[in-house]
């Protein structure tokens, strides 16, 4: 290799592109959707686990659901639905080249996401305070079905909470990209893909609300 002359190829020098390098937006979006499919099946597996145990212990699951804080559950649903709207608005605004509105919408979305996590913290500390945590005194006295219910409750909302946290990080990075002009009205696929992720986090919560809080 090293014996080859360095100037072996300069016969046809590459012309300088007048346009930016081609980006495969469809491929980029396809990749994001493929990732979302793994997320759908991940949470789908948990939903399935929940449904099977619920069919086995209907009364215990109902009792468990009645002890959850429905108000916080519904409030968090409204928060996530609204944050989904603001992300969708941010994308439309970016497509129209309105950078300020995009940044404002993304900022509001991040604020909503943090509000969601604060509510989750209040909710969880309430339950942990009542002695409902792994090996907690109140949990150990409950019937087996209710123990499973709370186990699934903590796993599903915990995993979802981690996704919200990841969303906050991703949204913040994208907000910084918009601020620095790395995302523009003609090149906004990063914003679109983070938006797709955020909407999926919202969809998962749309299913968690009735499963855990309403129909249990």
């Amino acid at each position: 290799m090293s014996t080859e002359p360095v100037h072996a190829h300069p016969v046809h020098p590459q012309p300088v592109h007048p346009h930016p390098v081609h980006k495969d937006y469809q491929g980029s979006k396809l990749g994001m959707w493929l990732f979302l499919f793994t997320e759908i099946l991940l949470f789908g597996g948990l939903f399935l686990l929940y449904s099977v145990y619920r069919a086995t212990y209907p009364l215990d699951f109902r009792a468990g659901g009645q002890h959850l804080n429905t108000f916080i559950g519904v409030a968090n649903t409204v928060i996530l639905l609204t944050s989904s709207l603001t992300v969708a608005l941010a994308i439309s605004a970016m497509q129209k080249g309105n950078r300020k509105l995009t940044m404002a919408c993304l900022g509001i979305t991040i604020a909503f996401a943090l509000m969601f996590l604060v509510n989750k913290y209040i909710e969880w500390t309430g339950e942990i305070g009542r002695g409902i945590y792994p090996n907690g005194p109140a949990l150990l006295k409950l019937p087996n079905g209710e123990k499973i219910f709370y186990g699934l409750y903590y796993c599903m909302t915990g995993l979802h909470g981690l996704h919200v946290l990841a969303g906050v990080i991703a949204l913040s990075i994208v907000l910084d990209f918009v601020r620095r002009g790395k995302i523009t009205g003609t090149d906004f696929i990063k914003l679109e893909n983070v938006g797709l992720y955020w909407h999926l986090v919202d969809v998962i919560w749309i299913f968690l609300l009735p499963l855990l809080y309403l129909a249990a």
């Binding site: 979006k29 499919f37 449904s51 649903t77």
Partner: protein, 96 residues
């Protein structure tokens, strides 16, 4: 033309707000029905209103309505796979 195809359809702000209002309305109906008519309607409401809400998010917020049919086909396929998993598992559980 290629430009428009590459960068997609711009959904008007008004449409997005309408979808959001519809989502809030459906949530209100779901909560109302599940708490007031719990024994009778909680599960049927869960099985109808929740997928409807998810569909609204998928089609409008996630732009699926404006994507190439290929994307819709893929999402459909994944959901069918999930439903097959759920169906087979319940067929197993209920025959033990």
């Amino acid at each position: 033309m290629e430009h428009a195809e590459e960068h997609g359809h711009i959904i008007p702000y008004g449409t997005l707000v309408k979808v959001w209002l519809l989502l809030l309305f459906l949530t209100a109906v779901l909560v109302f029905v599940s708490t007031v008519y719990h024994d009778l309607l909680a599960v049927p409401a869960l099985l109808t209103i929740t997928p409807l809400k998810a569909a609204l998010v998928f089609f409008y917020f996630m732009h699926l309505k404006y994507e190439k049919p290929f994307f819709r086909g893929m999402v459909f396929l994944v959901l069918v796979v999930l439903i097959i998993f759920i169906g087979l598992t319940f067929a197993d559980i209920s025959n033990r």
